[in-house]
Symmetry: C2
Amino acid sequence: MKKSLEKQRHSLAHVLAKAILELNPNAEYAMGPAIENGFYYDFKNIDVSEKDFQEIEKKMKKIIEKDVPFKKKTLSKDEAKKIFKNQPFKLELLKDLDQKVSIYETGDFIDLCEGPHVKSTGDLNPESFKLDRTSGAYFKGSEKNEMLQRIYGLAFETEKDLNEYLENRKEAEKRDHRKIGKKQELFMFDEEVGQGLPLYLPKGAMLRKLLMDFAMETYLANGYEIVSTPHIANEDLWETSGHLKHYKKDMYGPLEVDGKKYRLKPMNCPFHVKMYNSKTRSYRELPKRWAEMGTVYRYEKSGELHGLTRPRAFTQDDAHIICRGDQLEEEVINALKITKYIYSTLGMENLIFKLSVRDPGKKEDYFGTDAEWEKAEKALEDALKSFGQDEYVRDEGEAAFYAPKIDIDAVDAMGRRWQLSTIQVDFNVTSRFKMTYINEKGDEETPFMIHRALLGSIERFLGVYIEHTGGEFPVWLAPVQAWIIPISEKQEEYAFEIKEKLRKNGIRVKVEGVNDTLSKAIRNGESQKIPYLLVVGDREKESGKVNVRFRGEKKGELKIEELIEEMDSS
Amino acid sequence: MKKSLEKQRHSLAHVLAKAILELNPNAEYAMGPAIENGFYYDFKNIDVSEKDFQEIEKKMKKIIEKDVPFKKKTLSKDEAKKIFKNQPFKLELLKDLDQKVSIYETGDFIDLCEGPHVKSTGDLNPESFKLDRTSGAYFKGSEKNEMLQRIYGLAFETEKDLNEYLENRKEAEKRDHRKIGKKQELFMFDEEVGQGLPLYLPKGAMLRKLLMDFAMETYLANGYEIVSTPHIANEDLWETSGHLKHYKKDMYGPLEVDGKKYRLKPMNCPFHVKMYNSKTRSYRELPKRWAEMGTVYRYEKSGELHGLTRPRAFTQDDAHIICRGDQLEEEVINALKITKYIYSTLGMENLIFKLSVRDPGKKEDYFGTDAEWEKAEKALEDALKSFGQDEYVRDEGEAAFYAPKIDIDAVDAMGRRWQLSTIQVDFNVTSRFKMTYINEKGDEETPFMIHRALLGSIERFLGVYIEHTGGEFPVWLAPVQAWIIPISEKQEEYAFEIKEKLRKNGIRVKVEGVNDTLSKAIRNGESQKIPYLLVVGDREKESGKVNVRFRGEKKGELKIEELIEEMDSS
């Protein structure tokens, strides 16, 4: 958040509290910070509903109009206690503070606060904020404390920004992938099957298959090889890998076979390592690039589950690149290139690159030698630069304990950021599993290993993508690309003839609407976001054509061959 | 087994026992039946190794030469006890018999036996049998009884049949899919991962993917839709489905999530049912044909595990067809057609069809009404006939408790039968899960459900197929279709150019053998069963051609375009 915007939001929180107190002098006020997209303030002894927002906003605007200055004062804790003698939450907050505390006065409203704030309420834009909603909230976020009422506000620099945010949010609600998933019959969940376990209905399963096929074909074309491994493994393996030590809380409970405990896999890496270690490897064989559409199972609290974006079972487009040190940079560049290609093909051009490196002050917290870290961090940094990505965020201390990484966020049509891709260098697993190769001199050496998942989780990506596109998928990804709609039963046979012709040309097509009126069938097709609606009446039947509508646009009559060509190129 | 052949094999078991007793009068003899491919006899007080086989066979041949008649006698149990007073196993066997027993005399050798036998040892062919091996075996197969020594013999009608069997067996040993899997680096197992859990190395994973893609494309082209479901489900689901009651011993132990027990799925059906039941269905929607490459987990005793043909994790090319009664026959015919198409495309033309129906004498053992059974059995039988498959085995009493089925065996290149495909009609699951549809009159009706898996288990099929082909896969299925072998480093760049050209045309190709002599590289490629070996020297580099070898056959120089055309059509 920009500092100036943060100051405005924080100041608006004070203005909100001042307004509430003016309207309700008995109110007790607790805490009110700036947050993403706005601010909030927590109160006791108020009973505010959304109906009251207009009145409160009016009061806030008046305070802004009056141009009341924010005055900072530093004073002793005892002085502060006197000031807040009727405000028990402030007294409670004071307990955690040093002897010298600071307060802000805005007219007769005084808050215990470090600031900073705008100079005066007149600096605030009365048109770029809006109260949003209320909720219950425990004091200081702890269930042990009292429940207060929180009032949320939205605030941006300009009215335009505010309206844009509101529109995006409205759009995002409309595009909720769970709603679209239900409407288009893409996927479902079932309590008897279990929480967080998606079942893909035909259209969703086709969408998922097309996406995975596209990703896997891209990897194969870029020198990757496909591998496939089981969904469970003996606990011995998870001991060796360190997962039972570091990752247990994310893993499902054990199941027994022949007295031995097995676990559902939360990751695919140990299996790929096993395959690498199944024979002696030479420097000449490297890099190995092994890709798997691997379905993993990770425990999420039931309260945190959210459709496809946060399920308990998901399939990663996972790959491990095992390479020599001198190949590291090129392999990372290659992965970055593929990422860009995949996301731009999918129509998500806006990517944000983040380089997570070691905290140089806490080297002891990380696994591996200085030399390894320097090599790997430099490889990632050089790769970003060689790739032409000079703009990236460098996060010191954000590396995994075992290695540095590049994470990539995709920005969706509503401006929301989603971390999807990750490219990580790993020193931990290579040494834990004693991976080696014979170098040019005939000596054993430890390879580097890159974990990379570019779509990340297919489920999460699909959830995001459904919202990004609003369920209007590119023609090549649309699970059903066309409906043929016969005007009456007389053209039904012709419709099925065309269907067969299109199907043989690899087009995913259905005959629909025979029992509906034409206008209803078209409305249905458009609401189901079927890209092509092909109406056939007597005239089309005679001329061997179809009347084409593409996403609401009338394209007129086309011969079947013309249609096939058009669809192939779209 | 043909009756006459069974008689011969059984008679040879007697001849074996007679020979053993002549060589070792202290031997005690227990049981000696005809079995598949031959016979065996169990003995105590002998110490026979394969070195002794020649001597025993000589003795057996002499008995045959002497033309000793088999004489059947019926006598009382007491008389029999006297005859076998020195043969404790025969006395033990007598205990289970009625008061009247029958014995067979062959000269001085007497056996407690129901027969039938050949008339005389002279009727046996001395050239068409062979002792095979020995093993330990418990008396009457029970661990509680004494361990005896079993001698196995092979026996066929003609010497030619015997030799053919021996050759096939030798070939089968050479083609053991576990050996080929290791040599070609197709798959592996790992103790730390767990028994019976295959890990597919790149070439095996590609082979598996190509096979599954072929199957799924075939299903989609035949009006199926793809679906996808999780690998685990709550025990509630397995209660409803009846699996926990009827199938528990084949299921893996439970695992806990949020205090609820989950199981790895042994079958995909309940998930498909859940999807069907997620909304009201109309008769117009039927049939639903839902296919899934579903990975299931089933417990097998560790002693019964055998490479890919008997693993603990396998992927079924599973589909469920939910249809009306009037659609049943057509749907079964459709499934039969697809089966034939798939197996003939894969080069396994020899299929054996088995219709398993209810035991009409034990109707009470089966689930469902008479009307349902009659309808379903007739549908299967009519389907076989309409399909033109008049030749099939009708097995009364072989139906599953919930429905009749058609099982299909494929016969491999060594003449071995493998049950792979199954097409089953199910009344159980439809009623257990209360599946319905609204019929034309607006009433609820229960649909029929067909389970069908045509390759069956991808793992098992691959195991069989690797042996059937000896690892020499059709070009379209070969995980690596071509190697480009540059004669020296000078042509390496050219080799990679060609590789890129071929790859872009969808050909799976590698550059290999740069560091080997040409003859060694060709030998390697042939031993790895790479269909096309493309040698490039200076001449080929200049003319823009490659020197082609196809499975050991020299095809001379071809332009790249010619090669692509040739490979596309093979």
